[in-house]
Amino acid sequence: MSATTRTSDYSLQTRLLTAVSVLLTLFLGLTGVVLDRAFRSSVEAGVAQQLQVQLYVLLSAVEEDNGQFYFLEDLREPRFSQLNSGLYALVSSPAQQELLRSPSALERNFDDLFGRWAGLGRGETFFAREVAADGEEYFIAAYGVVWENGEDQYDFVVMESTGTSVAEINNFRASLWSWLGGVAVLLLVLQLLLLRWGLSPLRRLAEDLKRIESGASEQLTGAYPLELRPVTENLNLLIKTERKQQARYRETLGDLAHSLKTPLAVIAGVMNGLSEKTAAAPAAVNEEQIRTVEEQLERMNQIVGYQLQRAVKSTGSTALARRVDVLDVARRILKALQKVYAERQVEVVCDIEPGLVFLGDERDLMEVLGNVLDNAFKYGGHWLAISARVTQVPSRQLSIVVEDDGPGISATHQEFVLQRGARLDTLVQGQGIGLAVVTDIVGSYGGQIDVGTGQRGGARIQLVFQNFQTTDITASRS
């Protein structure tokens, strides 16, 4: 039950769409992350560069006198002078003691930040992003300096609150992701439209099939794309074959019903006569009447047999045909028949080119060869020959000839045999149904049957088919 539900939910469009969505999400997500990181590091590099410049500004604006540091002039960067501007300057001693700070930093507490740049060598720079005790985050740039004529090293430090850069990064991030999301939605919608457009022939096929099912249409007629054409062509063929088969069933049934009526009428007549006679004189039930009923029963049996074989044989369509090895089929039938007619001691000459392939139903070829060869065994003498070869005249065709050395088929019977699809109720009493079936099958493949007299005076049946192939035996066996 669950299996059926799953099958009915299975959609090509959903599948493709899901796959594309997953792929798109992965691709756009990865792109976003990479862009975000690149932007952040570029912002940080910018800040580092700026702080380096500010450090030089600080260096040039600070003077020392006996270990006391003071600002020579107003710092050129106004943000150093504005309280809590976000840009702060510090000078610290080697013992990590604060010696000077810019006016902007007067209210800030950097106590736990000291030491982060400890151990800085002379002329070395330090850059980091650190969080102060009050939760404020700073970019910190420090520079180790030894004053002229002095020995002590002082660290010049410039700090900038990360707030501005974070806001900048956040802005970028927001716009980046909204753009990427927009692109994703757009691509998905486009993809959906593309899929619907691309898969529309399949939908059309389904609709066409539904129309055929409802009887509104006979064939798949629309112009289908190249990739679907093998499917639609084969479907059309299948539908056609099915139709033919159906038609034949109907025809067979009709023929059957029709041809059974005659013998039934005869029997009914005999029974009628019998009941009248037995009433008058019971001994009058004579041999002849019994024989008539028996004959009619045999006839009915033949009719049923013939129509049955006609109904089950394939349509003879070569397009959906299978490949049947002629030599193999003939050998199997000959082996079987030699068993059945073991006592006849028939000399069999089998001259079939190896590699001949009949394109059609194996059952049909078997029925044809079986009936023809059976007749040759049954009515022939002690010799029969079967040959199969490709002839070039009048055109390239497969010719199968079966000959025997029996009395042959009389001219009147020859004529009958050549009537295609002759109904059995038009048949001479006692005539077998074998060749009638053969004629029918050969005809359905567009082949020909020819009945004549062979070189030894017996029957010679020639079957001609167009639906064959020759294969290189070594190739087909490898």
């Binding site: 049955l308 199997r332 082996k335 079987a336 078997m366 029925e367 009936n371």
Partner: protein, 224 residues
Amino acid sequence: MRLLVVEDQSLLRQQLVLGLTRHGYVVDDAADGKAGLYFASEFAYDAAIIDLGLPLLDGISLIRQIRAQGKTFPILILTARGDWQDKVEGLDAGADDYVVKPFQLEEILARLNALLRRAAGFAKSLIEFGPIALDITSKRVTLGGLGVELTAYEYKLLEYLMLHPGQVVSKTELTEHLYAQDYDRDSNVLEVFVRRLRQKLDPQDTLHPIETIRGQGYRFRTDA
């Protein structure tokens, strides 16, 4: 002659069993392939009639398995569809002849006779040894060209012996092939039949066509 009939349609099976029994055969019947295989494995038959469309084990497989057991008795197949694929497959599997349904009992009898004869190595329906001649088809026996009146059992006994000429046939084998299963094997009926046959076939007591091999059975002399 003991026959095995494997056919699933009970009416047809009964008709066959009845008809064959009336014509002097001992018949075992099975309604499906598995039962058929059991009978074929357990008992010695002279021939079998097997329908191709059987439940449990289809006819073709049944024939293959019987042949795989090394049983060589002739097999006649019954086919309803009558197409060559069926026939060829059945014969390929190891059957010896086929009959297409519906059929007349006469046809089955004729085919059976031919198969039994062939299995015994005789090309004709008339088997002759010296002045004694037996026609399997008409079931008539002549001595020097004159008809010999035999009862059904006497005929069956002689037919079996003449189809196995020169071979020692044990009493058990004879009993199995001539009588239905529940026959009392200890009875001396066989001896009585043999004695009567000898009297009828050799009234002057000069030919001695049936030899008694002490402790082993009987043998039909080919130089009688």
